[in-house]
Symmetry: C2
Subunit: 216 residues, 2 copies
């Protein structure tokens, strides 16, 4: 009985790793769809988010069931509650990748990103997807040190987010209002994606060390 | 022992009601600060969010403690897990009100909202604050019917959010890029605030009826 329980506890962790992989792929593909005005890829990202939502719901049910039936000890309870929160972060990251794909679809056959901002958006996409991949590995290895280094990459996304606004406001390139709206929202989605990735990493640190997770 | 436990369970609910009231006030004041370029009010909203964060952290500790020490039955466990999620929604609503106040502070002594958009933003602020107040009452009374009617008001915020973009894009009023960026982000903050309010209401419906909460 106890063994089946620990297997179930472990499988919750596996689902989180799977979710992290899926949302990392989703962000990569959403960014490609955005930069290349690639409608089939945008559509694929939008549909694929259902799988992340399903994993999230299913993990919820399993976790609540484990809590109710097994009366876990305090440390396992902390794992289960933290897993629910990580799952919520990852599910939200999937939503944000889907939002990005939807902007790409809305502007098709045009590209929502002007030439001067392509590189910045590409970098935000790359770092975001890399953060998600790292989160997957961090969860798999319970790697507190790696989790702590994620913060620096989140700072890079914040810098890019500010660089987007600086470019939008540059007097040399007068941008259309529609472009400003699209790019502002997109940049915000990337920033929030990275925030949630760091939040998952913080929760892992909290789980392993018992340190406060900063309530992100 | 059992009575102290139920008192503690009830006090978790009271904290959620208090949080809903605080974030509703925060949004009202942030909107006033924004529309009147009122720096002291903006500063007050920014500082006051610490109290919401503190309630959130403290509710977390109490809830986890109750779970670990009392081995709650399945129905109480559902209450506690849902309370943690509601608290996270409410904490986020506080953050969003603070974000709005920060835009107001950043643009001071200017007003971030152009004349033509004042009314729309004022309405978003009013409906958002009203949603938070209703959420407080819904939590207090465990009022499922009222919780279900919240959805309609969220739709109103979504409509206003789209109206903001339509106005920003209107050819008669050429807006500055800075205005477009500010207003796009602000409108998004109001929209997310309303989303989280509806999410809390959904969770209450789930809690009382056992219906799926739609994983918002």
């Amino acid at each position: 009985m106890r063994d089946a329980y620990h297997e179930q506890l472990e499988s919750v962790g596996h689902t989180l790793v799977e979710m992290a992989e899926l949302v990392g792929q989703a962000l990569s593909r959403a960014t490609r769809a955005l930069l290349e005005a690639d409608l089939p890829t945008a559509e694929a990202v939008i549909s694929a988010d259902d799988a992340v939502d399903a994993l999230h719901r299913e993990l919820d049910v399993r976790t609540l069931d484990l809590m109710a039936r097994q009366q876990p000890v305090a440390s396992d309870l902390r794992i289960l509650v933290t897993s629910l929160r990580m799952s919520a972060d990852l599910e939200r990251m999937g939503d944000l990748a889907r939002h990005i794909a939807k902007v790409s679809r809305m502007r098709y056959p045009q590209c929502a990103i002007p030439e001067e901002l392509r590189e910045t958006i590409a970098q935000m996409g790359e770092i975001g997807a890399e953060l998600a991949r790292k989160v997957g590995r961090i969860l798999e290895d319970k790697d507190v040190d790696a989790a702590r280094t994620l913060e620096a990459q989140d700072d890079a996304v914040d810098r890019l987010h500010r660089a987007v606004f600086t470019e939008l406001l540059s007097p040399e390139n007068p941008y259309a209002i529609e472009t400003a709206i699209d790019v502002t929202l997109l940049s915000r989605y990337y920033e929030r994606f990275a925030d949630h990735a760091v939040s998952v990493a913080h929760r892992l640190v909290f789980l392993v060390t018992g340190e406060q997770d900063g309530q992100r």
